[in-house]
Amino acid sequence: MSFFLESFSAAIRLVASLDPELLTIVRVSLTVSCIATVFAALIGIPAGFAIAYGQLPGKRILITILNTLLALPTVVIGLFVYTFISRRGIFGPLDLLYTQQAMIIGQFILIVPQITALTIAAVSRVDERYRKTAKTLGADTWQTVLVVLREGRFGIGAAVISAFGRVISEIGISMMLGGNIKGFTRTMTTAMALEYDKGSFILAVALGLVLMTLSLGMNILFNLIQGRSRR
């Protein structure tokens, strides 16, 4: 118990002292995960909306495939992307392996199905009468789409936040495609794994605290926005 408390207090001191190494790791993690989430949202939200709103052939099959992809292990995605960007892969000449771009590609593939599936769920929950009301009040197709998106905004927001939570805490892709290079591709999760291997828990616990605080902060922000809109 004392070992845990010592590690915990040392970790808090490390966070409070704004340790440069810790800050670099957090910055890399946030950069990679934010960019992956933004790109995944740019693809996943319109795709999810189109699937939920439109009358696409094979819609049910598409949704089943997306739901299956939600359970895809990160190491499988890591391996899949690796085969394309390794020296022998078709994108080998681009020299992407062990770069932040490779991690972004992997994380993007990880959460696009998640954002799409959750957007489908969010848009499907929007009452059909909103669409009819917008139309009868004179809205054209795009204005009607915006109404439905606005009414489903909290569900869609939750989809993006949960996707961010998934990528910021994943390790398989970051390790396999980033290589855990200090100051360059070392993220919070890969650094924690390394520190654990070394038997050095202080930085690992400190990074864990930052990770939990980030997650908590995102959820508080989301709840605040949701609560404000309901007032």
Binding site: R129, T133, T136, L137, G138, A139
Partner: protein, 348 residues
């Protein structure tokens, strides 16, 4: 002036035909009531009149121009007609923003928008809720806000799907007065659906009745699910809702032995007399008077015989019999009083 003309309009969902109208004309500036039981096709017809659905087949004109299925043409037409739903839904924003929605779409300036919002909120008596969250309004207030949101757009046609079905008595009266006021002051054509024959009679200048997607040449009242069973001595027994038997003196020509379906009994072909008068057992049905009201040259009497049966009496007959509420009376049905609207074989 004829605003809508519908010819040979059908609407099918899959293999099911939900609407089949040979011909319908709607005049501008009038109030129409659309009566009919659930599933009669009232809402489908409103959706077609509101250009929210295109019919499967048929021709339609609006303001003398054929209705084209192109997206631009439909959008142009839709901006002249507003449909208020039975359970209207408000955007998750303020009362003011809900009303402004359609005005912004029509690119109205901010000052004009505010003036219009204030005007329509005054009309429906919701000015004090201008900046309230629309979702927090009660059912009746929501219905009035939906009317205000529609009115702000100054539509040529206002379509209302059961506007008073889900509100309390006070709001029912407010909404009925509002609809009349809108028609008189703005000249807006109003078409509303209802189950309430009395509301239709009170509000509308013309009543259209739908039965199984078709226009019915009835007044909707005295329309029951029933079975026709041939009896002795050439009599035909009609069982309404499986519980009330009505004897008809001669069978309907062309009727097969036992038939079930929707039965319409013409209220003008029912004779009402006091029980003390000569009564023939097996020919007459007794009941209690529930309601008496004047309707033009006729007197409407509602008699409870196990189902509520409407009898339309002329004034001379009314003065002769002097029926009173609560009195027991006998009803006799003329041979041609009964029409089987949509016959089907009875369940075995």
């Amino acid at each position: 002036m004829i605003l809508y003309t519908l010819s040979q309009i059908t609407q099918r969902y899959g293999k099911r035909t939900v609407l089949d109208i040979d011909h319908l004309e709607i005049e501008a500036g009038r109030i129409y009531a659309l009566l009919g039981p659930n599933g009669a096709g009232k809402t489908t017809l409103l959706n077609i009149l509101g250009f929210l659905e295109m019919p499967t087949t048929g021709r339609m004109t609006f303001n003398g121009q054929p209705v084209e299925a192109s997206r631009t043409a439909i959008l142009h037409l839709r901006r002249q007609v507003v449909l208020v739903d039975q359970h209207p839904i408000m955007f998750s924003t303020t009362v003011c923003s809900n009303i402004e929605f359609g005005l912004k779409i029509r690119e109205m300036g901010k000052a004009d928008r505010q003036r219009t919002v204030d005007e329509v909120l005054d009309t429906v008596g919701l000015r004090q809720f201008k900046f309230a969250a629309a979702h927090e309004l009660s059912g009746g207030e929501t219905q009035r806000l939906a009317l205000a949101r529609a009115l702000a757009l100054a539509p040529r046609v206002l379509l209302c799907d059961e506007p008073t079905a889900s509100v309390d008595a006070e709001n029912q009266a407010v909404i009925s007065v509002l609809l009349q006021q809108i028609n008189v002051t703005r000249g807006t054509t109003i078409i509303f659906t209802t189950h309430d024959r009395l509301q239709a009679a009170a509000l509308a200048q013309q009543t259209l009745v739908l039965e199984n997607g078709r226009r019915a040449a009835t007044t909707y009242e005295n329309s029951f699910a029933g079975t026709l069973i041939p009896g002795d001595n050439g009599q035909l027994h009609c069982t309404l809702h499986g519980k009330v038997q009505i004897p008809i003196s001669t069978p309907q020509p062309g009727c097969r032995p036992i038939r079930s379906g929707r039965i319409y009994i013409d209220p003008e072909k029912i004779t009402l007399s006091r029980t003390a008068d000569q009564q023939e057992p097996g020919r007459d049905v007794t009941g209690t008077i529930m309601l008496i009201m004047a309707e033009g040259e006729k007197i409407r009497v509602v008699v409870n015989i196990g189902v509520l049966m409407v009898v339309l009496m002329d004034r001379a007959s009314y003065q002769h019999h002097c029926p009173a509420i609560g009195a027991t009376v006998t009803l006799r049905f003329a041979a041609n009083a009964l029409t089987l609207l949509d016959a089907c074989d009875p369940p075995s």
